[in-house]
């Protein structure tokens, strides 16, 4: 398995476990009455899940899911540990090559340019889909 595939697999599995928990919490957060009402109008179990419960559940899960996805995406920097040639790895090589921390600083700046808009997007999503009572 190449380093790239290992990193991809490890991060995907972590995100998978977290999103499972988030979706599950979202489904449980939909009041039971919604299930009962949908079933009593004659919808099948699958129809209820697809047309009534999931649309409400997914809405609730969007903010935590966005946050978690951002957190995991940031951790692609961990790929540097197994020598995937991503930003941090390149910055580290350049740093040890030149014995000067400027490449590290530049790499950090690259991460900020990439991720600050994503964090802002996350904030916007949070307010946009905030739980309205």
């Amino acid at each position: 398995m190449s380093a790239w595939v290992s990193t991809w697999l490890a991060l995907s599995l972590v995100l998978m476990a977290f999103s499972e928990e988030i979706f599950w919490a979202g489904i449980l957060a939909v009041p039971r009455g919604q299930w009962e009402a949908a079933r009593s109008t004659g919808l099948s179990f699958l129809q209820t899940l697809r047309d009534v419960v999931l649309p409400q559940a997914v809405r609730l899960t969007i903010p935590p899911l966005t946050n978690r996805t951002i957190a995991i995406t940031k951790n692609t920097a961990l790929g540097a540990v197994v020598a995937v040639g991503e930003i941090l790895y390149q910055a580290q090589s350049a740093y040890s090559f030149s014995y000067n921390p400027s490449p590290l600083l530049l790499g950090a700046a690259a991460y900020l340019i990439l991720f600050i808009p994503v964090v802002w997007f996350g904030r916007w999503i949070e307010t946009r889909f905030a739980w309205k009572r």
């Binding site: 951790n75 920097a77 961990l78 941090l88 921390p101 790499g107 950090a108 991460y111 600050i116």
Partner: protein, 223 residues
């Protein structure tokens, strides 16, 4: 099958590697005890600062939180550990890890606690103030206890993340559990120590994960 057992579940190797792993485990524990309370205190300061009416303070807090939420923890650690010595600031491996984690976790704890404080109805603060409590007393005795209660699952979840994240300290050669395991792996040329380290993490964090699930169930049940 035998090859699998020999290279991943080898008890002779485990017996040899055990002292190194144990030392690593203690270092991870010390790191956790240093990093979690420090990050939480920083987060509390961030959350309290974000409740002031002063525009500049609030903008500074949002800037701080966004900055360190966008920064991958590993990159931050690299920058602190390998960048600061060029400015003649030498913190050592433990100090670098502590500083990097403080910056990272205080912004996360800060966001969580801010959400908690905002979830407490304003009437609580007003009622507390009208009974003669000072702003500080009202915050400390009325608002904060309710705020923390509301975000307990998120606080536990973040703490879990922080403890797991202490494993990245291995890249700056701090001899914590993962570093110890990799050292033992290199010494014995066998993957058993890594598996053992994984099991140690699992055994230590499992109760926290169960606790988190229980709190989450309770919160869902309250809705």
């Amino acid at each position: 099958m035998e090859a699998l057992i020999r290279s991943f579940f080898n008890f002779d190797i485990l017996a040899q590697a055990w002292p190194i792993l144990l030392a690593g485990f203690w270092m991870t524990l010390m790191l956790t005890l240093a990093v979690v309370p420090l990050g939480f205190a920083g987060g509390l300061a961030v959350a309290l600062a974000s409740t002031t009416k002063n525009f500049f303070v609030r903008a500074a807090v949002v800037g701080y939180v966004d900055l360190f939420r966008a920064f991958p923890p590993l990159v931050l650690l690299m920058l602190v550990a390998y960048g600061l010595p060029f400015l003649d600031i030498r913190l050592g491996a433990f100090g670098s890890v502590a500083l990097a984690f403080f910056l990272n976790t205080s912004s996360y704890y800060g966001e969580i606690l801010r959400a908690g404080i905002e979830s407490v109805p304003r009437g609580q603060l007003e009622a507390a103030r009208s009974t003669g409590l000072s702003a500080l007393q009202a915050m400390a005795w009325v608002v904060l206890p309710q705020a923390v209660r509301n975000v307990v699952p998120d606080l536990i979840s973040n703490t879990l993340e922080v403890i797991k994240l202490t494993s990245i300290a291995s890249v700056v050669a701090l001899p914590e559990l993962l570093h110890a395991a990799r050292e033992a792996q290199a010494l014995t040329y066998n993957a058993t120590p890594i598996i053992a380290a994984g099991i140690i993490y699992l055994v230590c964090l499992w109760p926290l994960v169960r606790l988190l699930s229980r709190f989450e169930h309770r919160q869902i049940a309250l809705h």
